[in-house]
Symmetry: C2
């Protein structure tokens, strides 16, 4: 936790001021602060926003820096899962090194908090969990990492996975993950009973991938809600993707949203261009917490995605047909305070007393910052500078 | 038309070779060509692709270089149309200067051919047509510009517009445009009869914006097909956006595609993230010509879009869930040879005898070029270098 004076920043695009950080907390925002002996940065009029929050990604998957991965596998979800396990071994993929690269790249582009799903399966065991735990410890002061133990290859269809998830939670994973209880695991009752039992045992939350569309996804979502209520897990469950909320049946989706709001279930979106997605204004309007993420970056799943939440705000806005200045500011908020609310981060903001976790972005307004997309001039985590001009201060392995 | 020797390029990602251009035409592709006295560029192993084709844009709309435009108008199509006419006057928008900026920016990012819709309305008259005609003439040797006379504000709902369209065609516009005959013009028969009559009178083609979704768009598309058949305009009609082809009713859309193929109607897409779009593989599989465009760039309609067809290939691929290397190469082809086929450009390719219209892009494979998105190292039009490292060689006004 560090002291820092940042001159000439514009909090959320408002008038210029200086910001004094003491012991990692915002101590004062005022014109021309005097703080002799404190390290100083000049924002040159850049906009200050609360630190960006990468709330849905996979730090253990990226092939960044390992050369171009030629993808010939197509888009069938199960084929892609098989292919990834194979490629991890074939290319001797090191989850510790790769998650360091990915997390540092995010720090360079304004991110101060990450929620990462991390694969657990009977081929690779707990290697990915161990790797990301190591990265979390190494980067403790640079970016806060939350780990979801994620049965990417299925739980009921691969016996032994549940015991590995249990071990992952015991080793320090923060949440229990899940994945398409019908579409992948072919046993919604078995899958959901298993992950809710684990969450209950460890007293932790759940973040489940739900790609299932239309009525199938709605059915799984109802079963998630039933278990959330039964176990008293209100406010501790999140659903990632939740594509079924994008289906056209308004009455059906309205009932689902009402149930989600009743149990304070959070929604994570990537703004996926090719899929139906839950709409930002509708989800927020229903009173739900909503965050966003870039999902995997340069992995066996897809060849793109920048580890950059300012760029993701643009993608989310474009997918949601958000164009006005006010809408762009809302999309950006989903990518910072929205994700922080999902992760339960306290004191994430720009008021005095908040954590000094923030990003400086170029632009006259928040909308222009989203539209032009950076580069992020400075990332600050607990008063410490972790990124400059879109790049991390610390060198990746 | 110019001579040029380009050393060490890789045609479509194949082995290195030199390319000799004589009088604007590809004369030879071979290892170590000797051509004393001919200006030489070194591609350093970059991939050569046929020049990119921006086949759906609005050169007369951009506010590039005019400061940040604060958008408070929302997303209603008719409100956006009113707002744009108002802002053109309020900001003293100069279509000649602005279209120069836009077209040169495209030349910088690999584009050699542009199809631009240009507004014609009873408020601003033919000013935009005059401006883009001037730009077309000024940039004659740098980029080929095709002009669609476009009744953006409606045709039947604004009497006097048809006569202006007639004048625009007489002044040198290449195609007759149209727009949502039901949704905007409230008179599909009147609208389509008017634009087809104009096209017939001038012996030119049609490119009509069709945002109408589902059954409404299908109805308009049928009426377009009826007139295409009746006037013997096979191969001379294009439909931009064509969102209705993205509707879920497979039998209905299959019948539409079959009708479009029968009349050789071309489809232009932007890969719009927030809309239903015609799917690349389906449209090409049905035997249709298909091109792509960035649509408007930094205008009153939206705050983003780069004038960059390599970036557009990425957007089209993401919207279409195209991820494999082969798919990415296909998305890129839509953005070059696909658009050229729609525009009826002959000799657009990398074979000996083709026009020397090409772009050099970084990457080991075509897929990597799309995924990393440039910058385009060199744009060549008729043997003349028009862009370097993503920027135009000629200075914009």
């Amino acid at each position: 936790m560090t002291d820092l004076l940042i001159r000439n920043l514009r909090p959320l695009g408002r008038d210029r001021a200086d910001m004094l950080i003491r012991a990692g907390v915002i101590a004062e925002i005022a014109p021309r602060i005097q703080a002799p002996g404190v390290a100083t940065e000049d924002a040159n009029g850049a906009i200050a926003i609360p630190g960006l929050v990468e709330a849905h990604t996979h730090l253990d998957k990226t092939f960044m820096g390992m050369g171009w991965y030629e993808n010939a596998v197509g888009t069938d979800l199960r084929a892609m899962i098989e292919n990834e396990r194979f490629e991890r071994r074939r290319q001797n993929h090191d989850p510790a090194r790769q998650s360091m690269r990915h997390a540092l790249a995010l720090a360079g582009t304004g991110t101060t908090h990450i929620r990462s799903h991390v694969d657990v399966d009977t081929d690779n065991g707990l290697a990915a969990i161990e790797g990301v735990l190591q990265t979390r410890e190494t980067l403790r002061d640079l970016v806060q990492i939350e780990i979801v133990a994620f049965p990417q290859s299925g739980l009921m269809i691969r016996p032994g996975t549940a015991a590995l998830l249990d071990s992952a939670m015991a080793m320090g994973a923060d949440l229990v993950g899940g994945l398409d209880p019908c579409g992948i695991d072919r046993d919604p009752k078995g899958h959901l009973d298993a992950i809710f039992a684990l969450a209950d045992k460890f007293g932790r939350g759940i973040d489940i991938h739900l790609h299932e569309g239309g009525e199938l996804g709605a059915f799984s979502m109802e079963m998630i809600l039933e278990r959330t209520r039964a176990l008293g897990m209100k406010g501790k469950v999140a659903i990632s993707h939740a594509f079924c909320l994008g289906m056209p049946d308004w009455n059906r989706t309205e009932a689902l949203l009402s149930g989600l709001a009743d149990q304070d279930v959070a929604i994570l979106t990537t703004g996926a261009p090719s899929a139906e997605v839950p709409k930002v204004k509708r989800v927020l309007g229903a009173g739900l917490r909503m965050g966003a993420g870039c999902d995997g970056v340069l992995d066996t799943w897809n060849p793109w995605n920048r580890p950059d939440m300012l760029d993701r705000a643009r993608i989310v806005a474009q997918k949601n047909n958000m164009r006005s200045d006010a809408d762009l500011a809302q999309a950006l908020a989903v990518c910072s305070t929205g994700g922080a609310a999902v992760m339960g981060v306290r004191g994430h903001g720009l008021d005095v007393g908040c954590n000094a976790d923030l990003a400086l972005v170029p632009g006259r307004t928040l909308a222009e910052a989203v539209a032009t997309g950076g580069p992020v001039a400075l990332t600050v985590k607990g008063g410490r500078v972790t990124g400059r001009m879109g790049r991390p201060v610390d060198e990746a392995p």
